[in-house]
């Protein structure tokens, strides 16, 4: 993905855009970073988000948005290099270290992130968070997965269904 061109008459400094979270907090970031979001990229290419306007994001709260932008800012330079085919091993290792630490967070934040990454269509972030959640739950039993993800307790009918399946697929629990 190529970085979007800077706006008219703004060639020296990096172009900035303003994003507004659901709770009305304004975030000013470089257009290149915000453009990691496929959803925002079009608006930004059309010249939106500059000056006093800002792009409202009614589905993302400020805590989540600041986390999302932390990711975008870190990954923007590599993305600008066309997926960084010429990045050095050091750069890649640094990004990997950042990613590992980045998802080492509270579960509820993780879920907010996955939804935000989805709404904003940030492919790398979506993949990173989905992988983290998959790693968290893949070794767990169905009940443990339900608890981890905060599902309500199963109804008796659902419970009976689960029991029947467990009989059938006993090997998956050994």
């Amino acid at each position: 993905m190529a970085a979007p061109e800077s706006g008219d008459g703004n060639n020296g400094a990096a172009r900035m855009v303003t994003l507004i979270s659901s709770d009305n907090t304004r975030f000013e970031v470089e257009a290149a970073a915000a453009s990691l979001s496929q959803t925002l990229q079009l608006t930004i290419l059309d010249g939106g988000g500059g000056g006093g306007d800002g792009i409202p994001l009614p589905n993302v709260d400020s805590a989540t948005l600041s986390k999302v932008l932390e990711y975008c800012i870190k990954h923007a330079p590599a993305a600008a290099n066309g997926g960084a085919p010429n990045a050095t091993a050091v750069d890649r290792a640094e990004l990997e270290r950042f990613d590992n630490e980045f998802v080492n967070i509270d579960q509820s934040v993780l879920y907010s992130l996955i939804m935000a990454a989805h709404n904003l269509e940030i492919e790398g972030l979506q993949s990173l968070v989905a992988k983290k959640v998959a790693d968290m739950i893949k070794g767990k039993s169905p009940m443990e997965i339900r608890r981890t993800l905060g599902f309500p307790d199963p109804t008796p009918e659902e419970q009976a269904e689960m029991n029947a399946h467990m009989l059938e697929y006993g090997w998956a629990y050994e």
Binding site: A134, L149, E161
Partner: protein
Amino acid sequence: MAQPELNHDAIIEILLRFPPADPACLIRAALVCRSWRRILTDPAFLCRYRDFHRTAPLLGFLLQRGWHNELKVSDPCFVPTTAAPSFPRLPPECRDSSLVDCRHRRVLFQAFNGDNFLGLDFLVWDPITGGLEKVHKPPIPCLSYSAAVLCGIAGCDHRNCHGTPFRVLFLGLHYTRGPVHACLYSSETRAWGTPAVPLHHADIDSWFDFTCGALVKDELYYCVWGNKIVEYDLGENCLSLIDLPNPNRYYGSSSSVPMFMEDGSLGYACTRDSSLCLWSRKVMKPDGVVVGWVQRKAVELELEKLVPTLKNKNWYSFRKKKKLVPELISAAQGVDVVFMAASVGIFMYDFKLRNSNLSLFRNSVEIVPLQTYPFCMLAVELLPVEMEILPTAVDLKIDPA
């Protein structure tokens, strides 16, 4: 703070990242709730899952054992190499049959046609759909043969070729010293094609009953005992011979199998007594000129380490042999795993692992394992049909209390 609810698409993204090499993960996930089960049994999800994890893992192997007069348990059976769902039951027609090959989600059997061994027919079984098709013997003379079943769609990536047309390749040896005949069956025309021009060569000196072949692109390869690999070109319908990396004939105990390597090249694994060697054929890109063989690995197998109770075994005192001698019998295609038969059972060797790459599946009964047919597939593919027909809570009459 209440947890935000994950939407459908987010859950799909998470489930896509469950590892296919550990099939139990997705099975457990299928039990979490109905909506997850709907996702996992949706063909669209399976398609994405296959694309995401390109190579299907080895689930296990179909085992053909020798005949045992008292136990009468020579039926083919499935041996899982990972925690895998139970394999679909063999249809009754296949239980008394011999396994011949297994590829692209299909299993090829030779049905015994009364007393007349040479009047053989083949059965092609699709374990997922349960479909069974009979294929009559090809019109070429043979004293011994090998056969292969494969998907019949040109350019198919073989990640989801269920119910598609298939081919059966028949390779027959007229006498022990050749010539080799080849003939290809098409399920679309329900007929055998024109036999290939027979291959004569002084180096062919073999029986090759039921040996495992390797499919690399459009060519099938079979090892002929001794010196050469037979190559059959599916597109051109022609046979040729290629040289082995170590052509000197060895008079000790040796065995070999061709294999389709994970990197897409033709591989050749061979044993000499208790050492195992892996070669791969190097091809120059882009014109495809064959450069030669490169040795990838050479290891001394320590099979006895996996059999601590060896000394107490009757066969040991009987045969007075210190070392177990493995015989290479098959290779799992595309995953760099080979299988070896020995008197105690089947040894599996995984070339990709750094250590503990050798495992043993012991004989539960005193029947010599003859051949294995590795089965690679995503375990979750075995799920959908069964999951749908499971009884509901109402059917089970479980008291909610």
